[in-house]
């Protein structure tokens, strides 16, 4: 059980507790929130009087996450038109939450790990810092809750005050100075007697016996159980009943994925960027501008939720991202969402040999606090050049005249207020100037709007985002760079870096392979010709097809036809690093070609694309199993992700 003996414990009568709550309510410098009845159920809501407070509730419909990550949140306001005008205001009053159960307290602490990492979410941070959590030990237990099995039914941290009903009185365990000060200011308490503290301990100890629902396998075994059963038929079978309503993620205290949309007023003058809860069970969760959906099958989405909670997040942070509150079990209409049921079901089956790896252990680099992660910086379009029917070249300069400071392979989120945001790879090499270059393909609202803009107009830039290429590890090696289709755009940022006079000597021979669909879809043709003139740089271009009468002197055929032409004896495959950037379908084939050439998996790098919305590993859309493409990628070492089932589907 929990060791709370180090904390000071006070005692309060029920009457004085009510007075305490009423005193809190009266002070309008903060908002007093407590658990109230709503019909037959309970919710957290603003209190008008202490008699509304129901401390003996079983579980609320929504967890207290709604106060820290609201259902609908205005991230910023903006004006439309050509001035870059962003307004942010955070005038929320500090909150006092009364009646938070231990499992919800623990869930908030888990959320902190995600939202208060090196790329802190400022809104969340401020709310958490301002809030005072007054927890309460469970008195009633919902028949769907299995918090005892998760050891989240009691807690000794995460609260400012913790109330325990010991019969005629409440003990108050003080968890922080804030809590202590609150009591001093508003409450009439005494120091608790030893017997009273003992009573509290006994209640906490005996709480586990009140739970009707229990895990049949210890929670420590969840991760291993999941790893062993990725392809188990249970996912297909259970998900058949799924209605794809995502109620499970909405009511979950440890689900915090979100979507961001722009709202514009009818006079087209002002707008807001709104953040709202999203759910991985929804089909469009992974939808990108081109219309592609990753994880389309419902059984995969259904499975993903359990893996995120039982394996991906535990691998990353060391805790199981499920606190056994039972809300999803209550909310799921066909009753398939309950993790306790799923784990108990799985525990019946033989462990298979399959040891899947769903997470990449990253070096724990302490990345500097990046500051505001949501607000874009102002930038101006310097130059635009049409490259093809659907691709346009942009030169963009940040208005503060500072360099973007990016690494090859990183991307930016291009923001057009009123339209939205889109992730675009940076196409130019790192440079000290404030300008950088992008190639935009017209697929959705943002990119279509970009096409209609003109030099001199403004847009917003967030970034640089993503990990970029680890160019240090490329030094002293030969480089074989394969770009398919639009992949040449991000590849160019790497090529420009390598071919830069300062850097060229660090690398050995360079071979650039580029395959486009047709001659008129070849990008950067002149520049590529220049690259080929550099010593020890070879370029091979090919097009999938060439129409009659079209002028093309290069090769024809898919990009894969280029590899057999590479002389193996001329190529020191052991000392060659290969990089591939192209559409999802290209990877599998090109990797085979590289392996045939003798290039080792650990020397192959890929750049993957998913739906990148926040760019900072929070909104959840870009996940490939347990990996955030926007944070741990988009550049990946093939050896690390080749066993990731969702990487090359």
């Amino acid at each position: 059980m929990t060791e709370s003996s180090s904390k000071v414990v006070k005692i309060i009568t029920k009457k004085d507790l009510n007075s305490f709550v009423d005193a809190l309510i009266k002070d309008k410098t903060h908002e007093t929130i407590g658990v109230k009845a709503k019909g037959k159920r309970f919710v957290f809501g603003p209190l008008e009087h202490s008699r509304e407070l129901c401390l003996d509730y079983d579980v609320t419909i929504l967890p207290p996450k709604k106060y820290f990550l609201p259902q609908y949140e205005k991230l910023m306001g903006f004006t439309l038109g050509n001035s870059f005008n962003v307004q942010q205001s955070n005038t929320e009053k500090p909150l006092i939450l009364i009646g938070v159960h231990p499992y919800d307290i623990i869930a908030l602490e888990q959320t902190d790990k995600l939202y208060l990492d090196s790329q802190k979410d400022d809104f969340y941070k401020k709310r958490r810092e301002q809030a005072i959590i007054i927890g309460v030990d469970m008195q009633q237990v919902s028949e769907r809750s299995f918090a005892a099995s998760m050891n989240t039914h009691v807690t000794d941290s995460g609260f400012d005050l913790l109330l325990t009903n010991i019969g005629d009185k409440y003990t108050i365990t003080i968890g922080s100075e804030k809590g202590e000060n609150l009591l001093e200011k508003y409450a009439k308490t005494k120091v608790a007697a030893a017997a009273e503290i003992e009573k509290r301990d006994e209640i906490q100890k005996n709480l586990a016996s009140k739970f009707k629902k229990n895990l049949k396998v210890p929670k420590e075994e969840w991760s291993a159980l999941l790893v062993a059963n990725y392809n188990h038929p249970i996912w297909e079978k259970r998900s058949q009943k799924c209605m794809e309503c995502s109620s499970c993620t909405m009511v979950c205290p440890t689900c915090f994925c979100y979507d961001v949309k722009d709202d514009v007023s009818l006079d087209l003058k002002n707008g807001s960027r709104i953040r709202t809860w999203d759910g991985c069970l929804l089909r469009d969760f992974t939808l990108i501008g081109s219309g592609e959906v990753f994880r389309e099958d419902i059984s995969k989405r259904y499975r993903h939720r359990f893996y995120r909670k039982g394996n991906y997040l535990p691998e990353r942070y060391g805790f199981i991202a499920c606190v056994g509150c039972g809300r999803c079990g209550i909310a799921c209409l066909p009753d398939i969402a309950d993790p306790c049921d799923v784990m108990n079901d799985l525990s019946h089956f033989e462990r298979s040999d399959n040891t899947g790896k769903f997470f990449i252990k990253q070096k724990t680099e302490e990345v500097a606090d990046k500051g505001l992660i949501h607000i874009p910086r102002s930038a101006t379009i310097k130059r635009m050049e049409k490259m093809t029917e659907s691709e346009m070249f942009f030169e963009i300069e940040l208005d503060d005249k500072k360099s973007l400071g990016h690494k090859p392979g990183q991307f930016v989120e291009v923001s057009i207020f009123g339209i939205g945001e889109a992730p675009i790879s940076v196409s130019s090499g790192p440079s000290a100037s404030a300008s950088f270059e992008l190639v935009v393909r017209r697929v959705g609202n943002v990119t279509s709007h970009l096409f209609k803009m003109k030099p001199g107009e403004k847009l917003g830039i967030r970034g640089p985002l993503g990990n970029g290429f680890d160019v240090k590890s490329f030094e002293k090696k030969h480089l074989l760079l394969s770009a398919a289709g639009l992949g040449i755009a991000p590849m160019r940022s790497l090529i420009q870096y390598i071919l830069d006079k300062k850097n060229r000597k660090k690398f050995k021979d360079i071979m650039i392979l580029y395959g486009a669909k047709e001659p008129n879809l070849v990008l950067f043709k002149e520049e590529i010709d220049e690259w080929c003139k550099i010593v020890d740089v070879t370029c091979e271009l090919t097009v999938d097809q060439c129409a009659e009468g079209e002028c093309w002197t290069g090769c024809t055929g898919l990009i894969t036809t280029l590899y057999p032409k590479i002389h193996l004896d001329k190529y020191d495959s052991k000392n060659t690093i290969a990089v591939i950037i192209g559409p999802p379908i290209a990877y599998r084939y090109i990797i085979k070609c590289l392996q045939t050439l003798g290039i080792m998996d650990k020397n192959i790098y890929v750049s993957l694309e998913r739906r990148m919305k926040c760019g900072v590993g929070k909104c959840g859309h870009c996940q490939i199993n347990g990996v955030y493409v926007c944070k741990e990628g988009p550049v990946f070492n093939y050896e690390q992700i080749k066993d990731l089932p969702e990487a090359f589907e």
């Binding site: 209605m243 995502s246 109620s247 006079d267 087209l268 066909p334 279509s448 709007h449």
Partner: protein, 261 residues
């Protein structure tokens, strides 16, 4: 250049047109960002020169089909406005019976054979007659969504309409689920975008924004059993706005979920 917009209505209750008037002060903003060149219900003027046609109502007669086709030819963008236009709405309920039977029951023996006005066929949604570019769902549509579609069209972007069920919005509103109160709600398979307004006001969702997917047999059976509801109640609720989606002849056509629109 402001887009030129024209409003039209066919067989409907005109509640959707009313929602435009219900924008109140914002109607004044509306007429600043678009040129309303035809809106029979509130304007005398009419012009056939429009970019965007916004259509309310279902199609009941050949003469209505003709009028609709003419509008489609004039317009670059055609928007189906409200449940009658997007999915047929309540007007489709009578499609359960052959037209002749309904005509006889209503008009009895009065001779309407040669009267153009009375030549009625089965109710059709707009997209059953002409291609539709965008949809504004609901009965009536949500005013915020109307504003979103109009501002999107004025900005030249594709409107972003939810492709997920009402449950998402209902849960965000922290409503007590109506199933827990013994009511059959078809929110789980109905398109969101209305803010779950009916469940929030204590009334089960009737599916006026259109069905997103058809759930599995086992799922439905589990649901009915878990909440002690009857098949009749479910069928009843599913056939107010979505007659034809579920075939009443052989019970629910329980097909594995279809692709979203």
């Amino acid at each position: 250049m402001k887009p030129r917009v024209a409003f039209f209505d066919f067989s409907s209750c005109e509640g959707c047109q009313l929602q435009i008037a219900n924008l109140e002060e914002e109607v004044l903003d509306l007429i600043k960002i678009v040129d309303v060149v035809s809106f029979r219900e509130v304007m005398k003027e009419h012009s056939d020169d429009y970019d965007i046609a916004i259509i309310e109502g279902s199609i009941m007669r050949p003469m209505d089909e003709q009028r609709l086709r003419r509008i489609r030819n004039h317009a670059k963008i055609l928007v189906a406005f409200g449940a009658c236009a997007t999915i047929g709405g309540v007007n489709k309920i009578r499609n359960q019976w052959p037209v002749k039977k309904v005509m006889k029951d209503v008009y009895g023996d009065v001779d309407v054979e040669n009267n153009e006005f009375f030549k009625v066929s089965h109710t059709k949604a707009i997209n059953e007659v002409v291609p539709v570019n965008y949809y504004i769902h609901g009965c009536p549509p949500n005013r915020d969504e109307i504003k979103h579609v109009i501002t999107s069209l004025a900005l030249g972007k594709k409107p972003e309409i939810p492709n997920y069920p009402v449950c998402v919005e209902c849960k965000k509103n922290e409503n007590v689920c109506l199933f827990e109160l013994g009511k059959f709600c078809i929110g789980p398979i109905t398109r969101a975008g209305c803010g779950a307004i009916c469940p929030t006001n204590g009334s089960p969702c009737d599916g006026c924004r259109g069905i997103l997917s058809k759930p599995d047999v086992e799922c439905v059976m589990e649901l009915l059993q878990r909440y002690d509801l009857t098949y009749e109640e479910m069928k009843s609720r599913c056939t107010i706005y979505n007659t034809g989606v579920f075939n009443p002849k052989d019970g629910m056509t329980l097909v594995r979920r279809g692709k979203n629109e």
